[in-house]
């Protein structure tokens, strides 16, 4: 890449914590390999997102990072014309969407490679990976 990536990179940390939340590291290590992994609770046998130290369904600590297909559907979306962070201004309008993964968890991301107003609820999508810096790879979605 010739131009520097100027938009916000992921800043890990517990929901209300101020320290680095290293437990999410497997997620970002996987995106660098262009794989999507989501936490799975072994106790009740289900996926969940965003990452937590305990399962939000049954409070079990018996968790693993499990690969998922990256396939899902647009559960709901919004087209951002006025970003909260001005570093996104040049991208607007763009699609910010909740993606319901086939495995059951819901993840938040962008839907790309489609004119924003052509996106529809329930549209099938698949994960794509953007190596935005040598250290960070974001997972986004495009029409399947």
């Amino acid at each position: 890449m010739t131009t520097e990536y100027t938009k916000p990179l992921p800043i890990p940390g517990g929901m209300y914590g101020a320290t680095r939340g290293d437990f999410t590291q497997p997620f970002w290590e996987a995106t660098k390999r262009h794989e999507l992994v989501i936490q799975r609770c072994r106790t009740h046998d289900g996926f969940f997102f965003y990452p937590r130290e305990l399962c939000p369904v049954c409070l079990s600590s018996d968790l693993e990072w499990a690969p998922v297909s990256g396939r899902g559907r647009v559960h709901a979306f919004t087209i951002v014309y006025q970003p909260n962070d001005p570093r996104f201004n040049d991208d607007a309008p763009y699609v910010y969407a909740a993606i319901q993964l086939d495995e059951g968890a819901r993840i938040i991301s962008n839907v790309i490679d489609i004119p924003p107003h052509d996106v529809t609820v329930d549209m099938p999508v698949v994960a794509v990976f953007e190596d935005v810096t040598p250290e960070w790879t974001l997972v986004k979605f495009r029409p399947a």
């Binding site: 938009k7 916000p8 209300y16 101020a18 709901a76 919004t78 087209i79 014309y81 006025q82 909260n84």
Partner: protein, 366 residues
């Protein structure tokens, strides 16, 4: 025994909502509104023995200290936009349980010109999994998702929901406390306003503002000794959903599906008994969903309802008779308090030109 009818609002005061109160502080606005509410109830400061505030921005004790109050019961509720309605309910709980006799509830927000919305997030889920993807400004993102999903599930249109902003603007035209007083609005105006984030348009969103209000509650056995018509709290429900909109199981359902039935059961009334409503309205879509979830409109039929119903103060079912937050402006977490204040004003019969005829039973959503 529930707290049905155990406490009543006997005085109120509202600082006019304005774009800014330059040079004023949150404490100062709360103190002024509180002083005026005490005067309205004709109660002395020394008689106030309970204080309930928003609690997230300031310790409740600091607010008491600012006004020279030494209450026996004090707490903050920290339920964001719902803080006003929550605090009012907690005040009734405190009176019902014998912790206090005369409770002051006050909330405010100052705002400097050009002040950005919110504060930078501390590291956490939002900075790690949301911000790299560029959420929309303010709280818009979650409501944009709710809106697109509601359109998909129920065929709701933006033209239908534009009536929410239009009807409320009519109600605000002669409200001296409203930022948009004297500025009529049409459905075309709403539909021609720019997108903040599709489907949400500028005129379907609140304007960040400054303001504040205060109310005084007392016990039922003392309520009749005050000069104003007492406004009894007959039922309340305080329920909670995931803070993160996209993490909610059903995006088109609000927490009102759980809070409203608790309140109605306590009050002993059904949705069809309600004469008028004051409902939270940071965005048209949330207002719409909450009205459905309270049972006032069948689920999924809010679009046709607003296309066919006059919800102005002159109409068959008045809603947000002061113009709501959409036309008055939103002073931060104090914004939702206006729904309690306007319900009080109407039931006391002091709403002037916008006074509703049937003013005995109101449902308030924070």
């Amino acid at each position: 025994m529930t707290m049905r009818g155990a406490a009543a609002i006997v005085g109120f005061a509202e600082m006019p909502t304005r774009r800014t109160y330059e040079g004023r502080t949150a404490m100062g606005l709360m103190a002024e509104a509180s002083r005026d509410a005490m005067a309205d109830a004709r109660i002395r400061k020394e008689e106030i023995d309970g204080l309930i505030v928003e609690g997230g921005d300031f310790y409740p004790a600091a607010i008491g200290e600012y006004m020279g109050l030494n209450p026996n019961f004090v707490t903050g509720v920290s339920t964001m936009g719902a803080s006003g309605a929550t605090a009012t309910s907690v005040a009734a709980m405190a009176i019902h349980s014998g912790l206090a006799n005369n409770v002051l509830v006050t909330l405010s927000a100052p705002r400097e010109t050009g002040m950005p919305w919110g504060s930078p997030p501390s590291p956490g889920m939002r900075t790690e999994f949301e911000n790299p993807y560029g959420p929309a400004v303010a709280a818009n993102t979650g409501y944009g998702l709710m809106y697109s999903r509601h359109m998909h599930e129920y065929g709701t249109t933006q033209e239908q929901l534009a009536n929410i902003a239009v009807n409320q603007r009519y109600n605000a035209l002669e409200n001296e406390n409203a930022v948009f007083r004297g500025q009529p609005l049409t459905v075309e105006d709403v539909l021609n306003s720019r997108y903040i984030n599709y489907p949400i348009r500028l005129l379907e969103s609140v304007m960040p503002c400054a303001g504040g209000a205060a109310i005084i509650l007392t016990s039922a056995d003392r309520a009749d000794s005050f000069p104003n018509r007492p406004v009894y709290l007959l039922g309340a429900g305080i329920a909670c959903d995931p803070l993160t909109g996209w993490a909610r199981e059903r995006l088109t359902r609000s927490v009102v599906t759980r809070s409203a039935p608790i309140a109605l059961q306590m009050a002993g009334y059904g949705p069809s008994d309600i004469q008028f409503a004051q409902f939270y309205d940071c965005y048209t879509i949330l207002h719409a969903v909450c009205l459905e979830d309270a049972g006032l409109v069948p689920k999924g039929e809010i679009g046709p309802f607003f296309a066919a119903t006059d919800t102005t103060y002159k109409g068959s079912f008045p809603i947000n008779t002061d113009g709501g937050q959409l036309s008055c402006g939103q002073p931060g977490d104090a914004g939702g308090f206006r729904h309690v204040v306007e319900a009080t004003r109407q039931i006391m019969g002091r709403a002037g030109v916008r006074q509703v005829e049937r003013n005995d039973l109101c449902m308030v959503n924070g």
